[in-house]
Amino acid sequence: MFTQVNGTGNAAVVVEDIRKAYGDLKAVDGVSLSVTEGEFFGILGPNGAGKTTTLEIIEGLRQPDSGSVRLLGESPWPRRVSLLPRIGVQLQSSSFFEKLTAREQLETFASLYGVNAVRANEMLELVGLADKADTREDKLSGGQRQRLSIACALVHDPDVVFLDEPTAALDPQARRNLWDVLRAIQARGKTIVYTTHYLDEAEILCDRVAIMDKGRILAMDRPAALVRGLDAPTHVILELGSLSVSDATALPAAEDVTEDELSLTITTRRPADTLSALADRGALSGLQVRTATLEDVFLDLTGREYRA
């Protein structure tokens, strides 16, 4: 499958060396990044990495101590009203009007932007909440709240969408549903900047990611490029007994072979060669292939296991 970095080439967001300290704590410590129009950009990192602070500085909700931000060619701080209709923001914790139904929330936000209230129904459709239109905000499930929150960020049809941990604290099914929503938004040509502490998710969704830790960006690229750059070996795992250790060691490109009670693991940097040799022998029972992930990238960059 061929994936291509989306975008027209124009920068939607350009951030240069922004810093923000709370007392002694450097929440954001020299972050630079740029996001192209139409791109799905992910800021990843464990809790406390500085993702939210970075995002809120870009949105114009916080003033950086130093550094500069251009959002659609303009500086978002101090509050620039002309910019606001062009950006859509989902804050980290959902912000709803008390006692209003899903549709009423959307209608209210629509009117804040002078948008026709009929957009509300369209948005409910988009995020799959049409059947919850008349349910009050506090009666929605976690996943439904997140989807409503995203719909509220999109109701005025902004060019750039900022989503702060939209999939946090959701069960796997709700996360998958939300991924479909995010892909649908991207298909509408929006630029998406989103944060997550799920590295696996970012790998699947994002055109490009920035891995953040302790206020700094450690690496920034397409997920596949980051993983490839790691030069990490692939693990080919077979059912125990399908191949002896010595036979496995003799396979082309096999670097290391280990065996435990359940399986035999072959480490290789040229999985294509190893796998075709295995196929020739018909020794593919219970085959699993583990390639490196962004978690390995994180481990490589920080020297510690990734823990969200």
């Binding site: 804050l91 006692k99 209608e107 009117s111 002078g114």
Partner: protein
């Protein structure tokens, strides 16, 4: 729909979909109104009951004064025994031309009143018998409006208190909960001005206050309570609205300082409750000790109460608008200004 209208609507729905808020806005003050209204319905018009023995023009005339109720006894001894026991303040007996008054000295005031009435009646009857023309003419009438009854005091007091409480709580809790739930930050990301948020909250507060006033006055006007809007009552309207604004400003200040709904509720109570007790909501302020009256002059609720009663009860002219309106407007501007200064869109 404009941002102003939809924000007002959102606030209004948040208001009327909350049962507890509805209770404290309408039912709770009404309970006070009804209890006080019934309790004091006959206050001030209480008649004094005295014993009466025998028949005659004096006993008949006493019964017709409208001030005394007569309880008839067969013998004077029996009636005097009642007076000695403290059950009756006095007894009048008429036997032909002889009129006897026996009273209990334990209650000097009541004894004096009864004595004055009986002496007056006896003198008047004596005068009629002598057929003398009257030399001194006495012109008697009461100073206040004829409709002056406790309900005329109670209704404006409870109304001001109820409206003030709702204005403070509404403004404070909207601000705190919207800040806490990040709604304010989210609104700040929309291309609207802070004044739109503010003015929609003011409009909702005023709207709710009008509904409260109509309900309280409507209940007060029921025949059981008998409230009457008299004379210059319409002049109370500007005082009413300025009062609502003053308490709205106090609510904004409370909301600007408090981080949680619980803190805001506590702070609002601390501000409003003492004011209610010291400003004539639960008892007429004229009967309070002087020090309390001077303290209460610092409270906007006192001026709102006073201003409204001036017209609703005391039938004052437009010049009585000046003091309450100036005080309330000043309060609104100063407190509102401080609130705007300390206001924050988000918890730091």
């Amino acid at each position: 729909m404009t941002a102003f209208r939809s924000l007002s609507l959102a606030m209004l729905k948040g208001f009327y979909r909350d049962k507890a808020t509805l209770f404290f806005t309408f039912v709770f003050p009404l309970m006070f109104l009804i209890v006080f209204g019934l309790l004091f319905r006959d206050a001030g018009t209480d008649k004094i009951t005295i014993g009466a023995v025998g028949e005659g023009p004096v006993v008949t005339a006493l019964g017709e004064t409208g001030i005394l109720d007569l309880e008839h006894f067969d013998t004077l001894d029996e009636a005097v025994a009642k007076v000695s026991d403290g059950d009756l303040p006095a007894v009048v007996a008429q036997n032909g031309n002889e009129v006897v008054l026996r009273f209990a000295a334990s209650d000097q005031t009541q004894a004096g009143t009864v004595r004055g009435i009986v002496v007056g009646v006896v003198d008047k009857l004596n005068l009629i018998v002598t057929n003398q023309p009257l030399r001194y003419q006495l012109d008697v009438s009461n100073v206040e409006d004829a409709s002056l009854k406790p309900i005329q005091y109670i209704t404006p007091g409870i109304m001001s208190w109820g409206v003030a409480t709702t204005a403070v709580f509404g403004a404070a809790l909207t601000l705190v909960s919207w800040r806490k739930k990040q709604v304010l930050r989210r609104i700040r990301l929309a291309p609207i001005h802070a004044s739109t948020v503010l003015s929609s909250r003011v409009v909702v507060t005023i709207g709710v206050a009008i509904v409260q006033a109509v309900i309280f006055l409507g209940i007060g006007a029921l025949p059981v309570f008998g409230l009457q809007l008299v004379g210059t009552w319409a002049l109370a309207i500007p005082v009413f609205f300025l009062g609502v604004l003053a308490f709205f400003a106090i609510g904004m200040l409370v909301g600007a300082f408090c981080k949680t709904e619980e803190a805001a509720t506590g702070a609002a109570n601390i501000v409003v409750l003492p004011m209610a007790f010291l400003s004539g909501t639960f008892f007429p302020i004229d009967q309070a000790p002087p020090w309390m009256q001077s303290i209460s002059n610092a409270f906007p609720l006192r001026h709102m109460n006073d201003g409204i009663m001036d017209f609703l009860v005391r039938d004052q002219g437009a010049s009585a608008l000046v003091v309450p309106c100036l005080v309330l407007a000043g309060f609104t501007i100063v407190v509102g200004g401080i609130a705007a200064k300390v206001f924050q869109w988000e918890d730091s």
